[in-house]
């Protein structure tokens, strides 16, 4: 139970808002204490809406810092979080790349920061539309990473993230990523929850003493950031970050279950959300907004008589290895749809590489067809997704591969000017 005084009242309301605005509402519901803001398309509305909240007194006590670059965004959030406050910010694409140095720093400081990422394609050439390469390229930094596929999920996942991040066994920062423009700038009904309910779900704001592992208190002076020699515990501190990720899996499952109990919305087990995969012959692993559309594609293709299913990947870090292994034993062929690139890797797609890694040496696991589509916000229609499912069926039944297999990956939707 949060013990802060009731400064303002947020009753439950169902409003039609953009995905970015949903992220802003989530930060408000989470009672964040310090926000750092810098504009970048397509995230800008997040910080604009938060500015509105703060200026209109709807977030009393919250400090809103208007910095001069994304590097300073994360630097100021790290400073604020170290001093023992709940923090929030948002960015996209190039901004995330600019703060990359600080992304490592935040994870190394094990600060429970939540950052909304309205994902966009990396430049050059300039591209401001949905593409998850920005957040997925932060793979090794130590941040947890979740995908939101719907407007409601943006709001919900940010709340669930604070619960997991601030757990004293976890203490990791987290990205909540959603497709730029597709979710950030379109509007859908979103339930903004009653503040009391949110307070009962989330852990309380940090006490005066700050976080358990780092604090800024003249009565208990300490220093952080020393040099550690190679013969010192550096390697061990790094192991602890990895260990925290592994432990986070169970906490994510727990937090998701608790979320359903309090708010009534289900998100699978938190790490993955299965849809009609149990009796399927072939399945699709997919993340982001396209996952929602894939559900419709699965329904339509099932009506054509094919037993297809899908799995919405909700977390990229920690990677749900055990769940992927279980799923791969249910079907004979799994397509893995990436809306991002990992150049020079086995498949060219970050998630398909991770899936292949997870399934290495697993007896009876499905074959994998890596798929890449929708880069730079290229539209992926329902028809296209239905065709992808039929492609899986054909490949599974006849061994016939689709046309655009390049270096072992199906690059769907490539342009060809006739």
């Amino acid at each position: 139970m949060v013990e802060t005084p009731k400064d303002y009242i947020q009753n439950e309301e169902n409003i039609i808002i953009k995905g970015n605005v949903a992220a802003a509402y989530a930060a408000k519901s989470a009672r964040v204490q310090v926000i750092s803001a810098y504009p970048i398309t397509p995230q800008t509305t997040v910080v604009e809406k938060l500015s509105e909240f703060v200026d209109n007194g709807l977030m009393p006590g919250t400090q809103y810092i208007k910095v001069e670059s994304e590097h300073s965004v994360l630097a100021s959030i790290i400073g604020a979080s170290q001093a023992g406050t709940r923090t929030f910010t948002a960015t996209s694409g190039q901004g995330l790349f600019y703060m990359h140095e600080m992304v490592h720093w935040a994870a190394g400081t094990r600060l429970p920061i939540v950052m909304a990422i309205a994902s966009r394609g990396p430049a050059p050439p300039w591209n401001i539309w949905a593409d998850f390469t920005d957040v997925l390229s932060q793979r090794d930094t130590g941040w947890m990473t979740a995908f939101a596929s719907s407007h409601q999920e943006i709001y919900d996942e940010i709340l669930m993230s604070y619960k997991v991040c601030e757990d004293s066994d976890i203490l990791l920062p987290k990205f909540v990523s959603y497709g730029g423009f597709i979710l950030s700038h379109t509007s859908k009904p979103v339930i903004i929850e009653d503040q009391d309910k949110v307070d009962s779900y989330l852990p309380p704001l940090p006490s005066e003493e700050g976080w358990p592992h780092i604090w800024t208190d003249p009565k208990r002076p300490m220093m952080f950031g020393n040099l550690i020699m190679p013969s010192g515990f550096y390697q061990e501190f790094r192991l602890k970050i990895h260990d925290a990720h592994m432990k986070a899996k169970a906490k994510i499952v727990e937090a998701t279950k608790e979320f359903e109990r309090v708010f009534g919305r289900n998100y699978g087990n938190g790490l993955v959300q299965e849809y009609k995969i149990n009796d399927a012959d072939v399945g699709m692993i997919i993340y982001g907004d396209l996952a929602l559309q894939m559900e419709d594609a699965v329904d339509d293709v099932r009506e054509e008589g094919y037993k297809v299913g899908m799995v919405k990947l909700r977390h990229f870090r920690p990677f749900p290895t055990e769940d992927i292994i279980n799923i791969s034993k249910k079907v004979s062929l799994l397509g893995v749809v990436d809306r991002a690139t990992a150049f020079g890797s086995l498949t060219g797609g970050p998630v398909s590489c991770e899936v292949k890694s997870a399934l290495h040496g697993v007896e009876g696991s499905a074959a994998i067809l890596p798929i890449i589509n929708g880069l730079g916000g290229r539209e992926v229609t329902l028809e296209q997704q239905k065709e992808q499912l039929r492609t899986l069926v054909k490949l599974n039944e006849t061994g016939e591969a689709p046309e655009d297999i390049i270096h072992g990956t199906y690059w769907d939707g490539l342009l060809e000017v006739k």
Binding site: G61, Q63, A80, G84, T216
Partner: protein, 313 residues
């Protein structure tokens, strides 16, 4: 103006514990020692990559007996902004617990201020971030082995300007004054009580304060470890390093520098330069340029000071 006798009575506490990794005779250490005597324990210090990051020792032991954090190179001013904001957020949530009395301070080297850190510093100054930004200036990237920074003076040897630096020293205090922040000051470690007073004044002002301290470095500048104070004093006495304050746009020369408006009172520049091995091979031409630059700077100050009375209020 604090006198030594008063300081002896009231400033005995050492906040930067001895037995640390600073070089013998380190200029930075004197600066930090006196800055902390003025600021007291309710200080959260952020230091971007610099000597200060490293002299505090190896984990799990450290020297500063007050909240202290290392930070990435370009992130000093922004991190202190964040801390300052957190203290405000905490004083809202926990009123009367002293969080509003916490001072956030960035203690950066000249590299982390004038070069890689200038974007963050300019941003912090523009939004009047409530912090004291301190640049301890040893006039090069000393921690990595004496490479030139934009704060290295003309003619000085560094490992990346082996024939002497071509460009002149970047005038950071002037840049900071142009941001219209409430307080800008320059200090020298040869005047610790002047430094003490300036920090005390800075602590009492709300908003962004900038203090630039000349902190000579024995290995980097090439003089004996016992000459640190002497070199800093000569920098002031020759007029090469000018001590002043700019409060709300109005400049006041400090006690040690004021008499030097009269050129005859200035110690010859060569006396200052000849103490440092980094100027050992300075050419006649460079020497003349430096002297001209110094004279020109003082003439400008003289003009500026006389015009100040005519500034619109």
């Amino acid at each position: 103006m604090t006198k030594l006798k008063e300081a002896l009575e009231s400033c005995q506490e050492e906040f930067f514990l001895p037995g640390n990794s600073c070089c013998a005779g380190c200029g930075l250490e004197i600066a930090l020692r006196w800055a902390m005597k003025a600021l007291g324990p309710n200080t959260a210090l952020v230091t971007p990559a610099s000597c200060l990051n490293v002299v505090v020792g190896l984990w799990p032991k450290t020297a500063p007996n007050f909240p202290f954090t290392n930070m990435a190179f370009a992130a000093g001013a922004a991190a202190a902004t964040g801390m300052s904001a957190a203290f405000k957020a905490k004083s809202y949530r926990f009123p009367g617990k002293g969080w509003d009395k916490m001072t956030a301070i960035t203690f950066a080297g000249d590299g982390g201020t004038a070069d890689i850190g200038i974007q963050g510093l300019s941003g912090a100054a523009e939004r009047n971030s409530d912090q004291i930004y301190v640049c301890y200036d040893n006039e090069a990237y000393m921690n990595t082995g004496i490479q030139r920074s934009s704060s290295t003076p003309h003619g000085a040897w560094t490992s990346t300007t082996t024939k002497g630096k071509d460009r002149f020293k970047k005038n950071l205090p002037a840049i900071m004054a142009a941001h219209d922040i409430p307080y800008v000051a320059t200090c020298s470690i040869s005047e610790p009580l002047d430094l003490f007073d300036k920090f005390k004044k800075a602590k009492s002002i709300e908003g962004c304060k900038y203090i630039h301290i000349l902190a000579p470095c024995a290995p980097g500048w090439g003089f004996g470890s016992d000459e640190t104070i002497d070199v800093a004093r000569l920098a002031v006495k020759s007029g090469s390093w000018i001590l002043y304050e700019i409060e709300n746009g109005i400049m006041t020369l400090s006690r040690a520098s004021k008499p030097l408006l009269d050129p005859s009172k200035r110690v010859p520049l060569i006396d200052y330069l000849s103490k440092q091995k980094r100027f050992a091979n300075i050419s006649e031409k460079d020497l003349i340029e430096l002297q001209e630059y110094l004279d020109h700077t003082w003439k400008r100050i003289e003009v500026d000071l006389s015009c100040q009375d005519n500034y619109p209020k």
